[in-house]
């Protein structure tokens, strides 16, 4: 097991380096001089030249990348062009706020998805199965930013029972476990949970149905085991696949929250990205993308290890 973990860690090092390279290149695929966002178009040439040197833009690309990598490794993600604050300072709080939504959506979406999928796989062709298929279809087809708007219209505009946007009254950006904060989180969490619910239900259904068809289940039934013990065996065999789906989906929740955060004006990473895009604040854009990308890579590592812990066969690959 230890050797397996070591191998996985070694495997993600080049991937993580690739992620930093890609994020580094974002600035250079951007049209125009990256300094345009810092100084106005009519700035004197010597000022521009001095800035270019201070940002290191006058050096060759590979050197620039190494400098960037060094900065990232020492926790320096640069300074926001718009506010002048270090990117990492804003990013910490925003990531926390996004995690609140993602964890909430994961709890709701995963539990309902697993339950629905398991019931559907256990009773294939039944009413629950058809319901699960329909919900899965809706989950993967609905534009969730639109679903968010519809939920706001129904719950906030028409029924007026839940707040429409923000994290708390007055544009607060800090989270607290109070009634108002929780009420503000209900709609974005529900909206976000729809996609993982559908996908989790689909894969749990398929895996459960697949395991139930295997011979060992017949053998267990033939030797007279009741439903409960058979279920326990099935769960043990379904778990590794489901864990990997859950891990991936959690990553997608984190990375995909930008649209939902925009709809609900939630002060998380998506909000930062939005701001970075509109103000053409490339360091902020880079830092946020890098953080979410690395988080996703790390999450994949955790999933691989969890999978190997649940299923010894995995360790050999």
């Amino acid at each position: 097991m230890f050797a397996y973990i070591l191998r996985r860690i070694l495997y993600i090092v080049p991937i993580a380096l690739g992620v930093t390279l890609l994020v580094f290149l974002l600035v250079h695929i951007a049209p125009g001089d990256p300094l345009n966002a810092v100084v106005g178009p009519d700035a004197p040439a010597e000022v521009v030249e001095q800035l270019r040197r201070s940002y290191g833009f006058d050096r060759p690309l590979p050197i620039q990348y190494l400098i960037y990598l060094g900065n990232v490794l020492s926790g320096d993600l640069g300074q926001s062009v718009a506010t002048g604050r270090p990117v990492i300072a804003d990013l910490g709080r925003a990531l926390g706020n996004t995690l609140i939504l993602s964890v909430g959506a994961a709890i709701v979406g995963f539990s309902s998805g697993i339950l629905l999928g398991a019931l559907a796989g256990w009773h294939r062709g039944g009413l629950v199965d058809r319901l699960a298929t329909l919900l899965t279809l809706i989950g993967v087809s609905v534009p969730h930013y639109w679903l968010g708007m519809v939920l706001v219209i129904v719950m906030a505009v028409e029924l007026n029972v839940l707040p429409a946007m923000g994290m708390a009254p007055g544009g607060a950006t800090g989270w607290a476990f109070t009634g108002t904060h929780l009420a503000h989180a209900v709609l974005p969490v529900l909206t976000m949970s729809v996609i993982p619910m559908g996908i989790v239900a689909r894969s749990v259904r398929a895996t459960v149905a697949d395991v139930l068809h295997q011979e060992f289940v017949q053998a267990l039934r033939a030797k007279g085991l009741g439903r409960g013990p058979v279920l326990r065996h099935v769960v043990r065999n379904v778990a590794p696949t489901v864990v990997s789906v859950l891990g991936l989906q959690f990553g997608y929740l984190l990375g995909g929250s930008i649209l939902i955060e925009t709809v609900f004006s939630w002060p998380g990473t998506g909000f930062l990205l939005n701001e970075a895009i509109f103000k053409r604040d490339l360091p902020l854009l880079q830092g946020t993308i890098l953080m979410l990308g690395l988080f996703f890579v790390l999450l994949n590592l955790v999933v691989d290890i969890a999978q190997a812990a649940l299923d010894p066969r995995m360790r050999r690959t």
Partner: protein, 297 residues
């Protein structure tokens, strides 16, 4: 198959009944599947409505009117109401379909060519080339698709072409992976060895033996990405990264109408309902196609 049968010397007696070809069978299965046919009909209607928007639209998509802003559904002369600038919603929804469909379909087609080619090359030649291609793809895989799309189009700036470039890059990795997997499987089969033993070159083997076997699954997989692409493309416009105003596009319309949800909520959600309808039909049609083509992914 029928081509080789025709070349055989004519035999005496009644003509043997020709067994239907693969595509005939696929066509028949599709015709017998009411859900898929229904979805294809809806998609055809959406595409035709978008193509013939000039003819069908009752008004000018850019003609604003300060006194007719945000009228409800069923308003005289504006059957689906008006938007925040008083432009006719029905007209803009028809025109909006053009941009949304182009932004949804073109990236998948681009990625089908690029990703398919990369995957086939990686799978066929294996070794170092495979490593180089697939590890690069792995890096792109390290980002959730929404994030990658936002990152690239965020850096490139808004605009239709930039959004299409960003989405193409998002869909290359999954298509390359599926093409690589299928190619690797097919490459190990006996008929490929036989072709090689009979002296066929790499290009001939790829063209004659690999492509027909690889294209089916890759094509079906690509069709399943169209619904994702449509949602993502409109999502980019929704964020202000895709089509620029005043052009009509469903995602962008949804964004500008977001401020109107307190005034005309049900007019504001119309563009999203169309994205939903298109995406759900694409998903169902893709499922139907997969079943009819007997492709397992």
């Amino acid at each position: 198959m029928s081509a080789t049968a025709a070349k055989l010397p004519a035999t005496a007696g009644p003509k043997p009944a020709r067994s239907p070809g693969y595509w005939t069978k696929v066509g028949r299965r599709l015709l017998r599947d009411p859900v898929t046919m229904g979805c294809l009909a809806v998609l055809l209607a959406i595409v035709l409505a978008a193509v013939f928007a000039d003819v069908l639209a009752p008004a000018d998509p850019y003609k604003a009117s300060m006194i007719r802003r945000l009228k409800p559904i069923g308003f005289p002369n504006h059957p689906l109401g008006t938007d925040e600038l008083g432009r006719d919603m029905l007209t803009r929804l028809l025109y909006g379909g053009r941009m949304s469909l182009v932004m949804g379909i073109v990236p998948v087609l681009n990625a089908l060519v690029i990703g398919g080619l990369l995957g086939i090359v990686a799978g066929f030649f294996g070794g170092r080339l495979n490593m180089a291609i697939m590890r690069t793809i792995d890096v792109l895989y390290a980002f959730p698709s929404v994030l990658l799309a936002v990152a690239i189009s965020g850096a490139l700036g808004s605009g239709l072409t930039n959004a299409i470039v960003a989405l193409t890059i998002v869909f290359v990795p999954p298509l390359a992976r599926i093409a690589e997997t299928v190619t690797t499987q097919v490459r190990g089969m006996d008929f490929v060895d036989a072709a090689r033993a009979s002296g066929a070159g790499s290009l001939t083997i790829i063209r004659v033996h690999l492509l027909p076997n690889v294209l089916g699954p890759v094509f079906v997989y690509a069709s399943s990405l169209i619904s994702v692409s449509i949602i993502l493309a409109s999502g980019l416009s929704f964020l202000g990264l895709g089509v620029e105003p005043p052009r009509a596009e469903w995602g962008l319309m949804l964004n500008t109408l977001r401020q109107a949800i307190y005034v005309q909520p049900w007019v504001a959600v119309l563009p999203g309902a169309l994205i939903f309808l298109t995406s759900i039909c694409c998903n169902l049609a893709s499922d139907g196609l997969r079943t009819a083509m007997e492709v397992k992914l």
